[in-house]
């Protein structure tokens, strides 16, 4: 409510220029579904706000075996774009219709847990982020983006401009477990991507949300899966490993204790779905 100025840049260049000029006192807002509640509740009182809706960052296209997604692309746009079904599914699992019409792919990267149910799917698919500042641009794997609870590798003058998602080479699964079907904070969300040769796992990506400071990879479970035969025993061992290595927390939705146990159940279910 204390906002003095609102910027609506018409290009990425203009956006990063404004960011360079005003620095951290400028709140970057994409869909607004995360920032506005905090502003309305008086938790956040930004002096200046920059909206990204017109900065030309809203697009989806397939390029050379990858899906290129502008950071300000809405979740509804993702739901409607048939390229990578697991992403459609992940996007569909967030909010109600109106929220999906506002919330963006880039914005979801910054949703504190248990938010981030789209980012977790991106993590399982080895998404790469294009970070842009007035100084130039760089590419960073999403896995290296998060540095802690609500902290990232983003420099103060940088924007997430684009996300590049390789079309998965293997089979995927996405399970969000909340107290209800959709539109709910997660107890745990599991996104898995396994490259199989027959029953043998050649490569495994297993990402978890709502059980860590940000969407995380279950690297020990991944290591256990890679090279193994995807049978019940492997699945059980991987599920147990993921439950062991995750860092769950307690909130009004679930206790850390329960979350850890549900990681076991839902990793198992996700892997079983892939094995079928």
């Amino acid at each position: 409510m204390t906002t003095r100025e609102y910027f609506l840049p018409r290009s990425l260049d203009e956006a990063v220029g404004l960011l360079a000029e005003h620095g951290p006192s400028l709140l970057v807002m994409s869909g607004g579904t995360l920032a506005m509640p905090l502003i309305n509740e008086g938790v956040s009182m930004p002096e200046m706000v920059m909206g990204l809706r017109r900065a030309g960052l809203s697009y989806l296209e397939r390029v050379n075996g990858s899906l290129i997604v502008g950071a300000a692309t809405t979740l509804s746009q993702v739901v409607g774009f048939e390229a990578i079904p697991v992403l459609q599914e992940a996007a569909y699992n967030i909010g109600g219709w109106a929220i999906r019409n506002m919330g963006t792919v880039g914005g979801n990267l910054f949703a504190p847990p248990p938010g981030g149910d789209f980012a977790v799917a991106l993590l399982a698919l080895d998404a790469q982020l294009k970070l842009v500042s007035a100084r130039g641009e760089r590419t960073l794997p999403l896995a290296e983006f998060y540095t802690g609870f609500m902290t990232t590798a983003l420099e103060p003058d940088e924007l997430v401009a684009e996300i590049r998602v390789p079309v998965p080479a293997g089979r995927t699964a996405y399970l969000k477990y909340g107290r209800r079907h959709t539109n709910t904070p997660a107890v745990v969300t599991v996104a898995a991507h396994l490259v199989l040769n027959g029953k043998k796992v050649e490569d495994a990506r297993l990402a978890l949300n709502a059980v860590g400071p940000h969407p995380i990879r279950a690297t020990q479970a991944e290591a256990l899966l890679t090279g193994s035969t995807l049978d019940e025993e492997t699945i059980a061992a991987a599920a147990a490993a993921a439950a062991e290595e995750c860092e769950p927390f307690t909130d009004p939705i679930a206790s850390a204790w329960y979350r850890r146990r549900m990681v076991n159940v839902f990793v198992r279910r996700a892997l079983s779905q892939i094995a079928q």
Binding site: T3, Y6, M36, R53, G96, W97, I99, H181, Y258
Partner: protein
């Protein structure tokens, strides 16, 4: 900054602040159809279309819509009845919402319609699942979503050019064989994947199943008449408290306590007062100290006077510290930040089981509060009574079963928060326009607090966006009025959603211990109930809620020996108050889970055991002999009770006999981790408080033969204006549309105690009937004189009223218009007008059998409630559509406290889930399949034979679900809600033992 955009098809320029939300900008420009329900994009009341796509305007800056096209409810459908301009058609969605009864309070209706419009614009032939998914972002607390979904499907059919069946009550009797046969519902994987189950059965009519006992020869009563206020609500007209502007209006805000229990050692407001734009900052030092109760009840108020507008002590996180009035919300919030407070933090009591301990801090240590049972022990109220000799009966009983059951702290969450506007009128009277269920009590209670006599206060109740009891409370009217007194200016104050959770009122959490003596033949010989009720930091409704728990829950199984004791204790939590059901849901949560235990442990049939012990026609209502809200108790006899029929019809509808004890049905093929279960609960409620609740109505005839019906009763979305109009229309022989029904305004409408205790249809209805009968008599006198002057003499008693005319037995008639003109202008001139008022010596209980089926995921503990069937006997149903809307919405609220709703606290007494995200109320896409059955009886004492339906649906769903979970997986959860983690822990514990 100036922004240009297209608003409802027209180019407009708005001057907005850079940080202003689109919601705020639209409302500031008079688009009041866009509603405020939360501040976080989680309720959808503020939904608008941006370039045809639904978005939530509360989480969007106005500046973002520059160059876009914005559609609000005001841009949907044409204008109505504009004199010589006539009417333009409404959108098919609006018509369907009116016809199907999809509107209760109407506060979420604009959001629903605008979202549904976007869906139908994209998908002309949506499935029910698609409709539910689209509406899932728009929360509704009234309807249970059944009728809104039907309305959208109906509108879609109309828009496709299909014929839709009329909504009528024809041929409802008697129930033909096979009526309840429905296709088997597939079980589905409950927790994941988001796409819903797709299996919900599409209902084609909003009508409930009606089992009618006699043919009715009535024209308007018993018919699914559309709500009298539906047309304005479906167009988003400015009908609600906040839908107004006044010159110079200030915004009021409250500084809330961050501590659960503290004394204000020092408070400095000088910086806040110095802030430009601030007109008043009030602390306890600035206003008179008057002890009062916020509970809106009749005089003398039974709740302790333990509340002060502002105090030097805070008793819960969220309690008032100071109040500010400023020119804008932004300035007001900034002023709150500038108030410097030094607290002496005191030890707090957060668990009611600690409240009475000797070392517990005393929460109400002030000397000037009044009516507290024992302040040293934090005891707000104590109730004790006994019938027969329980101890002796226990000695003789074959079995004694005892258990303790907990019901949680839940919030009513009407989508419209508490909101009030106060101002001085031209006669220096204080006007309070407020979202209240109790305008007359509010005036009386506020008078001493504000230092004004009642006659200098006027309370206006406009349309209310849901209340469910939480608005039977004088919650923020006092502080807003203090700010108007301090500033001389109009002040508006509205709670945020967070405040609604942290600083309004909740249901009373209760620990209930029941001890039951049962004979080998299944006869209950004794019941003993002990209640520990947590009233929070104020005793508002504390005694009467706990009394009501015993009054209803102890009466259902009419044992000869009954003993009841309730301790109502203070804690440092947000006060509990009235919430739909008023103690009875807590009572039946305990009683019906307990009864299921008895049945299972002793091997009885659940239906037979209940029916064997249940109260019957001709029985004395046992607790009526000993309890009436702390007043003199007068014994009552049960004159109508359809419980056996409810049990039968409900069992048939849910196919009880095919499922209960059928191992095969309990399995889900191919999904060994899922188990199905079925459960039942019997319940009863009351209909008004006998010898106390009074309502009145006045009816005045106009020149054209129309009538003003003025009622003190407060329709808060329940449809009471409609059913009262139907009754008057029946008697006066004209359609409901000939009534200008108005509720309520302390200046214009006669007294009514307000909307609570399931009383409006019965009490205010009877008052309306009395007024209408008097008016009918006056009309007949005039008509008889007119008809006699033109031909054969007619006596008034021979005249009948129907079809907007007065008829002689020989078929001659004069129209009501002719009667009115004659009486007002031509002969023996007088105003045809009458007042009726009514108080009942009785409170005839409605009865119901609630059934539920669930699917339990044994690997996660997650419960999916598949079906809720409620068979209700509530006398004659005045309007089957509005009545079934009450049952559907009520069952869903009840399922909420059964499975998912609970305010969560941290160790410092802070509520950690004060948002609609983590505080989960059911949404359109996750409500169970709902079935309502009405078994009609004729209650002689009620208007047209009616009893109440408002609260009874809150009583049974919780325990029926818990019993179904036991049936599914064998774990007995005694503390609601049954959220997954709790069920899973119980499953693990069972495995280990």
């Amino acid at each position: 900054m100036k922004i240009n955009f297209q608003l409802n098809g027209e180019d407009v320029t708005f001057d907005v602040a850079p940080g202003q939300t689109l919601l705020s900008a639209l409302r500031a420009h008079g688009l009041f159809g866009v509603k405020h329900g939360c501040d976080t994009g989680e309720c959808g009341a503020c939904a608008v279309l941006i370039d045809g796509t639904p978005m939530n305007s509360c989480v969007m800056l106005a500046a973002q819509v520059a160059g876009r096209s914005v559609t609000t409810i005001e841009g949907v459908g044409g204008e109505q009845m504009r004199g010589w301009r006539g009417s333009e058609p409404l959108h098919a969605l609006q018509t369907a919402f009116v016809e199907t009864g999809a509107i209760q309070c109407g506060y979420c209706t604009p959001g629903m319609i605008i979202t549904a419009k976007a869906l139908l614009d994209r998908e002309p032939n949506p499935s029910e699942e698609q409709v539910r998914e689209a509406l899932s972002g728009v929360l509704c607390r009234c309807t249970g979503y059944l009728k809104p979904v039907q309305a959208v499907l109906r509108a879609a059919a109309i828009l496709r050019g299909e014929e839709v069946p009329p909504i009528s009550q024809e041929g409802a009797i008697p129930a033909p064989p096979g009526l309840f046969e429905r296709p088997e519902r597939e079980a589905f994987e409950p927790p994941v994947m988001g796409r819903g189950d797709g299996q919900t059965l599409v209902k084609t009519t909003p009508m409930p199943t009606m089992i009618v006992t006699e043919e009715k020869q009535l024209r308007h009563v018993g018919k699914p008449e559309p709500k009298v206020d539906a047309l304005k609500l479906v167009q988003g007209k400015p009908a609600f408290t906040d839908d107004m502007e006044m010159r110079g209006m200030l915004v009021g805000k409250i500084l809330h306590s961050p501590y659960a229990h503290a004394r204000i050692k020092h408070i400095d407001v000088s910086k806040a007062r110095a802030l430009p734009g601030v007109h008043a900052v009030l602390t306890y030092k600035d206003i008179p100290r008057v002890a009062f109760t916020t509970a809106g009840q009749s005089d003398p108020e039974p709740s302790p006077h333990d509340n002060f507008s502002l105090d030097n002590k805070v008793r819960f996180v969220g309690d008032r510290v100071a109040a500010v009035a400023a020119e804008t919300e932004e300035i007001a919030l900034k002023a709150l930040d500038l108030i410097e407070v030094e607290y002496e933090v005191l030890p707090a009591v957060l668990d009611p089981r600690e409240s009475m301990k000797p070392d517990a801090p005393v929460i109400h240590d002030e000397e000037d509060s009044d009516g507290i049972a024992d302040r040293e022990r934090n005891l707000a109220a104590v109730i004790e009574w006994q019938l027969g000799d329980v101890e002796k009966a226990f000695e003789q009983a074959d079995h004694i079963i005892e258990g303790t059951y907990y019901s949680p702290k839940v919030q009513a969450t009407p989508i419209e928060p508490h909101v009030v506007v106060t101002w001085w009128d031209e006669d220096d009277r204080l006007v309070i326009r407020t979202s209240t269920q109790v305008p007359f009590h509010a005036r009386r209670i506020l008078a001493p607090v504000l230092g004004l006599p009642e006659k200098r206060i006027r309370v206006i109740k406009p349309r209310i966006g849901g209340g469910f009891g939480v608005k039977q409370e004088v919650l923020i009217e006092d502080i807003c009025a203090h700010l108007t007194i301090a500033t001389g200016r109009p002040v508006r104050m509205e709670y945020s959603r967070e405040e609604e959770f942290t600083a309004a009122r909740t249901r009373h959490p209760m620990y209930i211990t029941i001890r039951t003596g049962v004979m080998n033949d299944g006869t209950i010989v004794a019941n003993e109930m002990y209640i520990l009720s947590d009233t929070g930091a104020s005793g508002t409704h504390g005694m009467t809620v706990a009394g009501n728990t015993g009054h209803k829950a102890m009466s259902l199984y009419n044992a000869p020996n009954l003993k009841f004791h309730a301790d109502v204790v203070y804690t440092n939590r947000v006060p509990a108050g009235a919430y739909r059901g008023y103690g009875v849901p807590q009572g039946f949560w305990a009683l019906e889970v307990h009864t299921d235990r008895i049945v299972r442990e002793l091997g009885f049939d659940p239906l037979e055991f209940r029916l064997k012990n249940a109260i019957k026609v001709g029985d004395e209502h046992p607790v009526s002999k000993v309890w009436n809200e702390g007043r003199d108790a007068v014994p009552e006899i049960i004159e109508t009770c359809g419980l056996p029929e409810c049990a039968d019809q409900g069992a048939a509808a849910i196919r009880w006999y095919e499922r209960y004890n059928n191992p095969e049905w309990h399995q889900v093929p191919g999904k060994p981790h899922l188990r199905r279960g079925i459960g039942v609960a019997f319940v009863m409620q009351g209909t008004a408080i006998p010898n106390l609740d009074m309502g009145a109505a006045s009816i005045k005839m106009n020149d054209d033969g129309s009538f003003n019906l003025l009622v003190g009763a407060t329709d808060l979305g329940t449809g009471s204006d409609t059913v009262l109009t139907q009754m008057a229309a029946e008697i006066l022989g004209c359609p409901p549309e000939d009534f200008i029904t108005y509720s309520s305004d302390t200046d214009f409408t006669p007294f009514d105690k307000g909307a609570y205790a399931s009383s409006t249809t019965y009490i205010s209805g009877r008052a309306t009937v009395i007024a209408a009968e008097k008016v009918a008599e006056q009309i007949k006198e005039v008509a008889a004189r007119m008809l006699s002057a033109e031909g054969e003499a007619v006596e008034p008693e021979q005249i009948t009223l129907h079809d907007r005319a007065a008829w002689a037995p020989d078929g001659r008639s004069v129209t009501l218009r002719e009667v009115a003109l004659n009486s007002l202008h031509h002969e023996h001139q007088r105003q045809i007008m009458a007042v009726g008022s009514y108080v009942s010596p009785l409170s005839p209980p409605p009865f119901a059998a609630q059934y539920a089926t669930v699917t339990v995921d044994t690997e996660t503990g997650q419960i999916t409630v598949d079906e809720l069937v409620m068979a209700v006997e509530a006398g004659v149903i005045i309007n089957p559509v509005t009545a079934s809307g009450q049952i559907e919405g009520g069952m869903v609220q009840a399922a909420g406290y059964g499975v998912c709703e609970e305010l969560a606290y941290d160790e410092n007494g802070r509520i950690v889930n004060p948002r609609f995200g983590p505080y989960w109320i059911f949404r359109a896409d996750d409500v169970p399949d709902l079935t309502t059955i009405f078994i009609e009886t004729y209650e002689e004492s009620g208007p047209f034979g009616a009893k109440a339906v408002a609260e009874i649906p809150l009583d049974g769903a919780g325990p029926a679900i818990a019993n179904a979970v036991y049936d599914a997986v064998g774990v007995r959860i005694t503390d609601a809600p049954l959220y997954p983690e709790k069920v899973w822990r119980a499953l693990q514990a069972m495995k280990q033992s």
